[in-house]
Amino acid sequence: MKITDEQIIKLIKNDKTLNAGFKMLMDAYQQRLYHHIRSILGNHEDTDDVLQNTFIKVFRNINNFEGRSKLFTWLYRIATNEATTFLKKNMRKNSFMESSEMGDFTNSLKSEEGSDGEFVKEMLKKALEELPPKQKAIFSLRYFEEMNYSDMSEITGTSVGALKASYHHAVKKIENYIKQVVIYQ
């Protein structure tokens, strides 16, 4: 039987079952949050740092969680803030690849990756890297997490209209990127 968010919170708010509750919360959300944070940050090491910080903030503040929002939107809000703040602090100046670099990139993909599926995964990862931090978060929530705009609005503090516009823009940027990769393939 699947444990509900309400049951997890109840366990955490009871000193006797606190640790078991924490563990259940991490079991329930670690993979989804990992994927979301990694979509924003790109590499495993930074994702690991931010995921740990996210859970620490969640645990230190769980008693202040009043249930006015859903648990998962609260968790995603903390994870998104942590990841975008981390990225802004450590932002390298990214620019779109030059044509010659694009050719090198597609060659490296061809030699490293075995199947078409893996090629697509790598291409999407690289395309995501081209988006600004908040747009990465928005694209990840919608495209990978398949979240509705109302929950996304609660998580990002952005209006539904602005989210739709940003997502549309992100889709177009990623498509253009993929087109370039395909041309050079």
Binding site: H35, S39, R60, G117, M147
Partner: protein, 151 residues
């Protein structure tokens, strides 16, 4: 939800549906076990540190710090959302502060304080002469690098 997502992409005439993957980043289960242990260890360490620190801080200092944090957060919230502060629920500000208080540093506070906020220093006994004397005596100790960091 998946249908809605695909429909939306179709309306954009996007080619992304054919690239759709549920998970493009894979990581072993062993990683998550390690991550959980690390989080629980860090939580225990923080708990112990907080206990030690709490014995050494006067309540009135904590009160002033809390007031400053609320002031700064209110100004931040006002600037970011571009809407009157009274439209933001105090519970939202408190929730934000609870989570992000560690992210503020001295410069954050200083940036949002005006001269009026320094009224607590009205009774200071430091005069202009004191400052001039201090600078005359200690000017040699200030190097160019220090000045660059200040200005």
């Amino acid at each position: 939800m998946k249908k809605e997502l695909y429909k939306e992409l179709e309306e954009m005439e996007s080619s992304l549906p054919k690239y759709k993957k549920d998970n493009i980043y894979t990581v072993s289960d062993a990683y998550f076990d390690k991550m959980q242990n690390s989080v629980l260890t860090r939580l225990k360490e923080k708990e112990n540190t907080s206990k030690i620190i709490s014995f050494g801080i006067n309540k009135w200092i904590m009160g002033i710090a809390a007031s400053l944090v609320i002031l700064v957060a209110a100004v931040f919230a006002f600037n970011i959302k571009q809407e009157p502060i009274d439209q933001i629920a105090s519970s939202d500000i408190i929730e934000y502060l609870n989570i992000y208080v560690d992210d503020f540093n001295d410069s954050d506070f200083a940036m949002y304080l005006s001269e009026e906020d320094f009224s607590m220093t009205e009774e200071t006994t430091i005069t202009l002469d004191d400052i001039e004397n201090y600078l005359k005596n200690d000017i040699d100790d200030i190097n160019e690098e220090d000045l660059q960091q200040l200005f």
